[in-house]
């Protein structure tokens, strides 16, 4: 078995392996783990410095070969989740900018309400007599 190959431990309906967190972020591991919730139960544990242990327990009986295959699928999904994370991070600010631009007026008050609110704000700002300031909190003077 080469060093790059996933080291797995298999027992009844369960396969365990550990992941180097310096290679795969916890976010990536959890993203992959979530997608296995329909296949079985997922247990994550920290078993050493920057090492995360993943244990997958199947809902139904599984052969040793099936358990090894399950671990292999998990390892493959880790790569895909890592790519997705990179794509998300590389485009995050741009997406937020576009989303804000697109939805600027989508869920706020109507145009008329906004204009009225702006006018109110302007009037307040120009209020030399501090009329809207509560008596309990008078401005200085």
């Amino acid at each position: 078995m080469s060093e790059n190959e996933l080291q797995t431990e298999v027992d009844e309906r369960r396969v365990r392996f550990s992941i180097d967190e310096s290679v795969y972020d916890l976010d990536v591991v959890m993203g992959a783990a979530y997608l296995f919730l329909d296949r079985g139960y997922v247990f994550l544990d920290r078993v050493g410095d920057r090492r995360i242990q993943v244990a997958l327990r199947t809902r139904k009986p599984a052969s040793e070969a099936e358990l090894h295959a399950l671990a292999g699928e998990f390892a493959n999904e880790l790569l895909n989740q890592a790519l997705r994370k990179r794509v998300g991070e590389a485009n995050g600010r741009l997406r937020e900018f576009i989303m804000a631009k697109a939805l600027f007026a989508a869920d706020g008050p109507s145009t008329i309400d906004r204009l009225l609110a702006e006018l109110d704000a302007e009037e307040m700002a120009a209020d030399d007599l501090d009329i809207p300031v509560p008596w309990e909190k008078p401005s200085g003077g």
Partner: protein, 506 residues
């Protein structure tokens, strides 16, 4: 949901590649993005794409650029405009107002999701005073399109409320000038000539339940009268349709619509069901799976099935529908048309169950017979199962603003914004999909649920995966032409005329 594709994330070129989601469809890699664009690549093309190795003079580059998959040369303004149009539904308030006129029903369907009572329980009838308050309340929605849908029980069991709401809404709309849509769900078994003409005169759309041929329909939909429900339903469908024709309306647009519910007995009857619909002139068929809540919980062993079994039924029935279209028979599958509209048009069909965020409490409201206001009909059903979590208020005491800003509505929105949901946020089908937290709640007792274990997720994912699979093999574009036709929704002109009762001629 897993992606059986070997990728090397270290080769990703941050500078040139825009945001995309991906998944495998057969042996191709499907790319999608936030404005609903999609593109199929070979695995080798995908490898070069993520590495930023596609050259500007390649046709693939133009394809990627045109569909906004490249950060380099991205037209941000245009992209934002498209996104804004896709999310246009956020700018309007609730447009669909479901009114439960009564819980009484003369059927005892094996899979009934709605709460129902016996026909003697008139204490579950809505009063005219409550009905007036419901209409007044609904008209406060800022939406330019306002729809009232009568539900039950069997809504026509309390026809005076239907009559009142229709006439009052039409009268009120003379001053409100909204696009008013009126419809009733009905099993048609309490219909008579007078009611029919009332509904037709005022442009009320009719939607009934038709599960397929007589034997299948009658098996699913038990009727207290011990007669054939199918014969009665189809008899009235024919009468309505004939009357529309007699009045000079286009039968392709004006006919009784129908919904079917898939039970275990339906799984081997896809072709029969489609034929039944086509033969009755219904051009839109929604292959709806059964949900394990309501009365169906108790009968699940007899009528239920796995989602894999449903999807096999869906695929084979959709194949038959496509086969008919290729022969010139126009008929569409409704859920497919929702997804295809998202894939092929700049708009979102605003289908409440398949939106992000969902439409519960923000696109639709449900009014129980007693005037209680719920997020939607599922929320009302949850209440009848003993949980009032989705009750937002009451027409006697609540303001419209309170309802829209209700913590439960906010919670449902948070639970259905796919960009923030595990698995959804990176799912290849996210741009064309949606989440209905009420389904999660009914199934799991949790509005967030777990996507991989959700039947609704499995259904939506499976249907979209199949549509893309068909499109990926559509070498001559003939299927895309059929699918694009399914995205054209012709409106029914003149369905909301104002005609005071005294001027109406039967």
């Amino acid at each position: 949901m897993l992606t059986p594709l070997k990728v090397d994330p270290t080769t990703f070129d941050e500078g040139s590649v825009g945001y995309f989601r991906y998944g495998m469809v057969g042996d191709k890699v499907l790319l999608t993005n936030d404005v609903g664009e999609h593109l199929f690549l070979t695995p080798e093309e995908f490898r070069r794409f993520i590495a930023g190795q596609v050259q500007a003079d390649e046709p693939l580059y133009a394809n990627l650029r045109k569909r906004y998959f490249l950060k380099r040369d991205l037209d941000v303004e245009q992209f934002a405009t498209k996104l804004r149009r896709k999310k246009a539904f956020l700018q309007n308030g609730p447009h669909l107002h479901a009114i439960v006129t009564t819980l009484r029903c003369n059927h005892a369907c094996r899979y009934c999701h709605a709460s129902r009572t016996d026909m003697t329980a008139t204490d579950t009838d809505m009063s005219l005073e409550t009905a007036r308050k419901v209409v007044d309340f609904a008209f406060r929605s800022p939406t330019p399109v306002l729809g009232f849908e009568f539900q039950g029980g069997e809504p026509t069991a309390n026809f005076p409320v239907i009559r009142f709401v229709v006439d009052y809404a039409l009268e009120k709309n003379r001053y409100e000038n909204k696009e008013l849509l009126l419809s009733t769900v009905t099993n048609l078994t309490l219909m008579d000539e007078e009611k029919m003409h009332f509904l037709l005169d005022r442009g009320v759309s009719i939607c009934t339940s038709l599960d397929g041929p007589a034997d299948l329909h009658d098996k699913n939909r038990g009727w207290m009268e011990k007669q054939s429900s199918h014969a009665t339903v189809t008899g009235w469908m024919d009468k309505f349709n004939a009357e529309w024709v007699r009045r000079g309306f286009d039968p392709d647009l004006f006919h009784v619509d129908a919904l079917m519910t898939t039970t275990r007995a339906s799984l081997s009857r896809g072709r029969d069901i489609v034929d039944e619909y086509v033969n009755r002139g219904i051009r839109s068929l929604h292959l709806r799976p059964l949900n394990p809540f309501g009365f169906a919980v108790n009968t699940w062993q007899q009528v239920g099935y796995t989602m894999d079994e449903f999807l096999a039924f869906y695929r084979s029935t959709l194949d038959y529908i496509i086969e008919l279209n290729r022969k010139g028979v126009f008929v569409q599958e409704r859920l497919a048309s929702v997804f295809l509209t998202k894939m092929f048009t700049p708009d979102d069909p605003n289908y409440s169950d398949c939106r992000s965020p969902c439409g519960s409490g923000s696109a639709q409201l449900a009014y129980n017979f007693d005037g209680s206001i719920y997020t939607d009909d599922e929320g009302r059903m949850a209440a009848h199962m003993g949980n009032d979590f989705f009750k937002l208020g009451h027409v006697d005491t609540s303001s419209f603003d309170e309802i829209l800003r209700h913590p439960t509505v906010k919670a449902l929105k948070v639970a259905s914004i796919q960009d923030a949901l595990p698995a959804c946020h990176s799912c290849v089908h996210k741009p064309t999909c949606g989440v209905q937290p009420l389904h999660n709640y009914m199934f799991d007792g949790d509005i967030f649920g777990q996507r991989p274990r959700s039947r609704k997720c499995q259904e939506f994912y499976g249907v979209q995966q199949y549509l893309y699979q068909l499109l990926s093999n559509d070498t001559d574009g003939s299927l895309e032409r059929i699918f694009r036709r399914w995205t054209i929704q012709r409106s029914r002109p003149g369905t909301t005329p104002y005609a005071p009762a005294s001027e109406v001629t039967a």
